[in-house]
């Protein structure tokens, strides 16, 4: 068996996992550099969670090879486990216990003495803004608090590699920003983070490199700039003050932006997908000079949907595959 390439935190070749008839992961090749954040972007059921579970040694692969921090996940699971941590999609906490007890439990299992475990738990609760809730049962925590406690549990001993499975799904914007900050702090401390997400914005904010996966395969890989270049800069949405102006404005902007106008069902609204966003301001300015009054406009990033459309020719959420949940997987 060949050693993995140096400086890679994760290297997989043709990784496969099947559940009955479904090939949940269908030949995934990943090369994740050590340090920084690596994003795995894909819709529900693309195989993200299954891939992570194999890399974290919770699920044996059915085919292919995977090296994590230089260790084969299939044969050196113990070595892998001692250096990685996993924060699952659903908070992996004991809801009956308090936040503090959850962390003390993990710290004790990691080998801390009773006193040191308590100290470490208090330190983490403080850092994650959970001191006030330390003695409350996790049951009573909000989604954001659970997520933070879950991440705190993963860094009781700072792992060299951390898997974060959809860390912000279902969180409000403030909690989401806190999680992002925590991820950045972890990276600064030297941990490599592999995170899965359904949101292009999240991958864009955090990840140095992104793999887009769909139907269990990597369909694109690169920096977010490279991925976006393949889609164009995104969508320009424009509202006219008077719906009667819409046809004239549509024609004018279509020419100026070299893009096709999409007329929305709202009679005052229209949008364009543009390759070069720098031309938008000038074009709108000229429209104003011609007496076409624009009441508002926005320049949005391409959405995951648009990335998918560009990469696969179909929207992300066609939902033909579904990732089996743990209980559906035959034991």
């Amino acid at each position: 068996m060949t050693r993995m390439t140096p400086d890679l935190a994760i290297e997989t070749h043709g990784l496969v996992k099947t559940f009955g008839e479904t090939r949940a992961v269908d030949g995934v090749d990943l090369a994740v550099p050590a340090g920084g954040v690596y994003g795995v972007l894909g819709p529900n059921g693309a195989g993200k969670t299954t891939t992570i579970r194999m890399l974290a040694t919770l699920l044996p692969p059915d085919g292919g090879t995977a090296y994590v921090l230089g260790h084969d996940v299939a044969h050196e699971a113990a070595e892998v486990r001692s250096r990685v941590a996993l924060t699952g999609q659903f908070a992996s906490l004991d809801e009956d216990l308090s936040g503090s007890e959850n962390l003390v439990l993990i710290a004790r299992l990691q080998g801390y003495s009773r006193a040191a475990a308590k100290e470490r738990a208090a330190e983490l609760l403080e850092a994650f803004g959970l001191t006030a809730a330390a003695r409350k049962q996790v049951k009573a925590y909000s989604g954001g608090m659970r997520r933070r406690l879950d991440i705190a549990g993963s860094i009781v001993v700072r792992p060299d590699l951390m898997f974060l499975d959809e860390p912000t799904t279902g969180l409000d914007p403030r909690s989401r920003n806190q999680v992002w900050e925590i991820v950045r702090a972890l990276v600064r401390a030297g941990t490599t983070v592999l995170l899965t997400t359904q949101y292009l914005e999240e991958a864009d904010q955090l990840a140095d490199r992104i793999a887009v996966i769909d139907h269990g395969r990597v369909i694109a890989e690169g920096t977010s700039g490279e991925l976006k270049a393949s889609v164009g800069s995104g969508a320009v949405k424009v509202r006219v003050a008077d719906p009667a102006d819409r046809p004239a404005l549509a024609a004018m902007l279509a020419e100026a932006l070299d893009a096709e106008a999409v007329l929305d069902s709202d009679p005052a609204s229209l949008s364009f997908r543009v390759a070069d966003a720098t031309r938008v301001a000038g074009a709108l300015h000229r429209a104003g000079e011609h007496g076409l009054r624009v009441s508002e406009y926005s320049l949005g990033q391409p959405s995951l949907d648009e990335v998918f459309l560009a990469l696969t020719g179909r929207p992300a959420d066609d939902g033909t595959t579904r990732e089996p949940t743990a209980e559906e997987v035959p034991a």
């Binding site: 992996s92 906490l93 080998g111 001993v157 702090a185």
Partner: protein
């Protein structure tokens, strides 16, 4: 001015959080991993904490034994043994056995709930001796068995039960019960790992436990039953367990029965513990 500053700090989110997180992350030492014994005890501590936070879970362990003891004594006692008092002398060791055997199924419920909640993944991704979680669960369960036994015996003594075997006999009987039931727990772990939902676990356990505990010498001497039923009672391990416990409490300890129970416990553990551990390690 103010607006700009605020916008900036909003963009960087919370610098205070960042700094303390970095400090907390950096402060992490790397202790030696907990050994198998320490890890098992830690999981046992978790079981205690769960009892502390969710005392309702002891409801089944305390209320059923009380109900059983009172109901059987006063409803059937007169009819079966002439008077409730005499029946109690016969039935109490049986009720004790039935109670403890019955609550073994909570092991399956606990592990099944853990798997459903996701906390199972966390534990399995930690670098500790994997069976520790199961051993810790056994420790917690053993404690429940002792609590339930204490409840039954207290109620029994309160309504007039006196053990001819004395305190020593009673303690020995409880110890024997706990030993047997801990071995049975391995079987329940297999059920808990195999079955999909806690509800299904409940259904299966009722189907197994009702016949096993009732069709035995727990409530009535087998001599009064039809021959075909006696045949089952005779091979039912619960009968053996009841007779051994009853012997100890009645000051008529049967060395043969006791040795058989111990042997059976060892055999059950030897056969089912490896299967449970194998399933647990491969659980996806």
């Amino acid at each position: 001015m103010t607006t700009t500053t605020r916008a900036e700090s909003a963009h960087q989110d919370d610098p205070a959080l960042d700094a303390s997180v970095i400090a907390a992350v950096g402060g992490a030492g790397r202790p030696r991993h907990a050994g198998p014994v320490s890890a098992s005890l830690t999981y046992g501590w978790r079981a205690l904490l769960k009892i502390k936070h969710v005392p309702e879970q002891l409801f089944d362990v305390t209320m059923f034994p009380i109900m059983f003891t009172l109901m059987f004594t006063y409803v059937f006692g007169g009819a079966m043994a002439g008077s409730p008092g005499e029946y109690l002398q016969y039935a109490l060791p049986g009720i004790l056995t039935q109670t403890v055997v019955f609550i073994t199924m909570y092991t399956a419920m606990t592990i099944n709930t853990d798997i459903e909640k996701g906390v199972f993944d966390r534990f399995r991704s930690l670098p500790v001796w994997r069976p520790a979680l199961l051993v810790g669960a056994l420790l917690g369960d053993a404690l429940r068995y002792v609590i339930a036994s204490t409840v039954v015996l207290t109620v029994g003594v309160a309504i007039g039960y006196r053990a001819p075997g004395g305190l020593l006999g009673v303690v020995a009987a409880v110890a024997l019960l706990v030993l047997f039931c801990v071995s049975l727990t391995w079987l329940w772990l297999i059920v808990g790992l195999k079955v999909r939902t806690p509800n299904a676990v409940m259904g299966i356990s009722m189907m197994v436990l009702f016949p096993l505990t009732f069709v035995s010498s727990v409530f009535a001497p087998p001599e009064t039953m039809p021959g075909w039923l006696q045949a089952f009672v005779d091979v039912n391990p619960v009968t053996l367990l009841v007779e051994a416990a009853r012997g100890l409490m009645d000051d008529a300890a049967d060395g043969g029965d006791i040795s058989l129970v111990v042997l059976l416990s060892v055999v059950i553990t030897a056969v089912f513990a490896p299967i449970a551990l194998r399933l647990y390690n491969r659980k996806t």
